[in-house]
Symmetry: C2
Amino acid sequence: MEFAKKPRQSQQERSALTRNKLLNSTLQIIDAEGWHRASMQRICEHAGVSRGAQTHHFPTRESLLIASVREIVKRYQSDLTEGPIRLQNLEAFFDFLWDATFNDNLLICWVEAMVAARTDASLKRVVADTDASSMTAMRALGAEASQPNGPVRIRGTSQVEDLVELTVCLLRGLVLQQGVHHDLSEKRRLFELWTRIVAEVA
Amino acid sequence: MEFAKKPRQSQQERSALTRNKLLNSTLQIIDAEGWHRASMQRICEHAGVSRGAQTHHFPTRESLLIASVREIVKRYQSDLTEGPIRLQNLEAFFDFLWDATFNDNLLICWVEAMVAARTDASLKRVVADTDASSMTAMRALGAEASQPNGPVRIRGTSQVEDLVELTVCLLRGLVLQQGVHHDLSEKRRLFELWTRIVAEVA
DNA sequence: TAATTTACAAACAGTCTGGTCTGTTTTTTT
DNA sequence: AAAAAAACAGACCAGACTGTTTGTAAATTA
């Protein structure tokens, strides 16, 4: 019969909790219903958070969506870096990228964000920045994977890095198509063809 | 001082005119402001067509957008078929695809449509169908370009055709990125690398 | 020319959205 | 314990959107 009289949750905990609930719901709704249908009301309803609480943390819709964009790349980056730290070769790295692309809904959300950002100046800045840094990280990872022994890199642009960037763009194109044609194995087949071709030249 | 008393325009002409005005404005607005901001009011205003006239030709927003989707592929197809009928090799064909991709705004509109269709069942059907037929046509064109002498094709899927599909997906990924990063020459460089690699194996 | 159909015009109703505003509860500070 | 601040709750409003409806002008048909 003893209840703690001291606060059950600190302000920090409360804040972080609802903030995360909102971000999670935002990503889920973007994935399930598309960017433009991710309205505040729908997000709040889905998250079980009141409109007022949402206003407190994200005063405008733009602020919430920008935070979501940042959340996407943050998670994607941690997928990449927490993953297999040592990749033997480029093919293994490409396989890894494939998994990171199609195993969760992050990249779909990212594509939605890129399309939305195209016609939204303030969003475009954020997406462009985060995308550039993310792309740089992937290029570096790919270069490292293709040449595991060389720890020091001199040039900012090698052919391997370009191949990584091409592969990322290709994967995004495949994601785009996956949204309409749901045959994933067909895309897998195509991607393996590409992987084989690249392995030959790299 | 003589004015024709007979009708200046036939019904057919009037219909076709406003219909085209609406479709053109729709595509322009999708390109400039994005799919979800292409509202009936904005489109009518831009086209100089009254809300009532629009209602007469396209009773619902969905019907107008679906007609626009069909218009996109129709124009894209005519770009492809009216273009250089005889392409010498695959590289020339890829260059041709590059031009068709970045010379007008059709592919941006198409990417917007694909993203919108992902979360819109009825739109998805249309986009999936038109995309499939369009893709088939491009695969065939590519196969023809790579082997100009063989008029008869037996298999439905050759490696060359797969390479064409990969290239189309890549170009879409590049379009996606072009919406956010506006450096086209960088993408051109990457695409030429791609072309060199792919043409080697074909 | 008269009747009918097609094309166009504009107002209206109902819904949804984002931002604001006022008030309440919970935690922290004094 | 009292005061202050942070987190939360929900009503409200002005604007935008789609679809409908009623009415008018132009073209076609009888």
